[in-house]
């Protein structure tokens, strides 16, 4: 049986009827075609599906879609304003903080959540915030540098 849910998705109100066993990740990818969030493990281990729910980073593969009812969901697709990138996205490009790009949306969302809560995090806080997001390409250094550049900019 489908359940009716209402929530804010990337700043727009949406209403949908959804089966109770569907995860938030499946709903985002299959119903809304928002494929920025990836399934890397389906078990909350890799962080590739990270989205923000009420400003908190969550593994969308571990949350049921019906639980999104009444919440505000932000995905990587909701960061840029048209062709104008979010400052964090631009910083990832400027610092070479991405390679294959598969972990990048989740990585950016975890970092974004940190910056929304704390605009000027320390390097240690950045590392902690992204340590649930696995990346096999970069060795993480340039990712941390990209986030720290935004932190430093915010501090000025």
């Amino acid at each position: 049986m489908k359940h009716a849910i209402n929530f804010i998705l990337n700043r727009e109100a949406v209403s949908i009827r959804i089966e109770p066993h569907i995860t938030l990740l499946e709903m985002l990818r299959e119903v809304f075609d928002l494929t920025g969030a990836k399934e890397g493990c389906g078990a909350g281990e890799c962080g590739a599906c990270t989205v923000l729910v009420n400003g908190k980073p969550l593994n969308a593969c571990l949350m049921l879609a019906v639980e999104a009812d009444g919440t505000e969901v932000l995905t990587v697709e909701g960061l840029a304003n048209g062709t104008e990138l979010d400052v964090l996205q631009q910083s990832f490009i400027d610092h070479g903080a991405l390679q294959c790009g598969y972990c990048t949306p989740g990585m950016i969302m975890s970092a974004k959540a940190l910056l929304m809560e704390n605009p000027t995090p320390t390097e240690k806080e950045v590392i902690e915030a992204i340590s649930g997001n696995l990346c096999r390409c970069t060795g993480y250094k340039k990712i941390v540098e990209a986030v720290m550049a935004v932190s430093q900019k915010n501090g000025k």
């Binding site: 890397g40 598969y102 990346c135 060795g139 990712i143």
Partner: protein
Amino acid sequence: MKYVGISVPRVDGIKKVTGALKYVDDIKLHGMLHAAVKRSPYPHGEIIRIDTSKAEKLSGVKAVITGKDVSKRAGLYLEDKTFLATDKVRYRGEAVAAVAAETKEIALEAVALIEVEYRELPAVTNALEGLKPDAPLVHPDLGEYKWGPIFFPKPGSNISNHYKIRKGDIEKGFAEADFIVENQFFVPHIQHCPIENHSAIAQMDAEGNLTIWSTCQSPYAVQKALSVAFDIPLNKIRVISPAVGGGFGGKAGTTLEGIIIPLAKKVRGRPVKLTYSREDEFVNSFVRQGMHAVIKTGIDKDGKITAVKNTFIWDGGAYTEYGVNIVRAGGYASTGPYDIPNVWTDSICVYTNHPVGGPYRGFGMSEIHFAIEQNIDMLAEKIGMDPLDIRRINGLRPGGKNATGQVVEVCGLQECIEEVAQKLAWSHKDKSSQPNKRRGKGIACAYKAPSMPNNVGSSAIVKLNEDGTAHLLVSAQDIGQGSDTALIQIASEILTIPPHKITIKTGDTDYTPYEWQTVASRITYCAGNAVARACEDIKEQLLELAQIRFGIPKRDLTLCDEYIVSKIYPDRKIAIKDLALGLSMDDGSGFHGPILGRGAFIPPNVRNTDKQTGQGEKPVAFWTYGCQGVELEVDVETGKIEILKVASCFDVGKVINPMLIEGQVEGAIVQGLGSALYEELILEKGIVKNPSFVDYKIPTAADMPEMLVSFVENPEETGPFGARGIGEPCMVPAAPAVANAVYDALGIRITSLPITAEKILKALQEKNK
């Protein structure tokens, strides 16, 4: 240079940071069906009976296939695999049947309804056991398979390749030695762990044309393998690789594509998608082969190595269609980057009932260097020499000879060693941070060549547009390493057209020209050369047209900032865009037509080595040399290692993009540290016990050490702007450098990977007994 050597931001950056890039699993096609696979529960067994009738009756199931639908063998170097098991299963997890259904859930339900009866066979779960004369045969029909002429399988045994090096006189070498030392090492299986799992979609139209969307590193190699396996001509198979979310070798060759083709053939034009789960990725895609090494070395009291005898036994797994070439590479590189006059090597690939071994970043080099580089330190200790000095004495230099007898022409190894020693303050010993901790420094060298057949090709097409922009078409795949950006930089440099005015299109066998494979750290070199030649072709055409237009000889014309300019009279110039569609004459007529650049490349003069001795003048396109040093601290109470600092230096010939190459090396360092400290596929009786990120840890941001990355630039004569490959070599020295640093800290030798806290504590207890 204006564009080469500059940190141009990644050209694929925007689509990746916005989540807009569609990887294969992101693609939804109209009417798409979903596949699921029935897999073997046994590592080795005969298939007695498969009953698919219940699955076929399930509502929503559109097709069911078994090995009968894919009976033809395929493989890159040795045609030993079928995409589904036919007569027997050879590893736990091997595909025996597959289903296409309206939803993934139905497909999974149908798979559970398929009944398979097996007769379990005794399994080979250790490569050393597999070599014994009474071992069960994994491939009794090996003698009937096809293989390339540079491989040496032994039908009637489990040996799928035996590669030999016989250089100099090994007995004479040992006789000259003051000390002879024999050491053993073991490297376990590991997994690539790209964050993107394998995924593929297949669709067959009414004319029999097959389209495959695949997360593959090598669309043309996939096209060829599928053509062989399914008897479909190449002009009827289109392979598209829209994006690859990390490869590291795991997405080279073919994996799951062949499972969905027979399904696609049965569903009247509907596309069929199969995406691996993380567990599948761990077990049912390529793994890095395990390896046992025995190294016997003779050394004189002055530190000169006089002879080495290597035995490398590789656990190739159930199919070694790709693995045989890793074993070959491990053989011809078996001395490491050292000049040793007398060498005897046996590098042997053994079939086992383990997951399928295949290419993994390093292609055998990480495995053999774990042994070689520890062995070098052990020799140094034996004669009371500093680990740096033994490398200074024996390390390759221009004019030296490597294991195949090749005379080394360009080699910055010694410069790399000195650079790392300086960055790591080698002779300075820091105090540990706490009384229960011990500090150590370790160093390891590495070399690697592109381990590919000698005559594999690359090609590129450049289309000049009438506004002076260009399209670059290649089938080199950007799998994260940054080839899209680097290849555009090479094109920009020659065409003098800035990178933002060049668009690259890759990975579609219907539209982008041939590339053998995106593997072997060969793309900047091979595809880079093809791109350079295509751009030179354009340049030549532009100068021809300008010569006619200006009446100035071609030799006095050049390209500069998007113009064709006279070298003598700089005001005589015409914009590239004005010649892009041909030359317009004053009388209104036209000449030549649109300008299209064509470039092709095969590494020059690379020849096979002697079959008996492995000796040859130029067995590979080039060698990349380098060195890595590690400083670490070990907690003697817990055994936990903390990597404090890593210094890496490689001779890359020419840095095309500093930011990208730095990122690539940093990634390799951390991936290498993962293999050094945590990573091992735990195999018990042929069963992978830890197929998840919870039980198989890979490094997180919290594991990142301080990284000091630098480069030496001794140009590669045949490389584009002097560049040679780096993607794999920079991972190779990580594990032995850690092992050597652990020894420096504690005086204990860990000769098997990974170097876990448990092993350290155990070794400390032994030592303190």
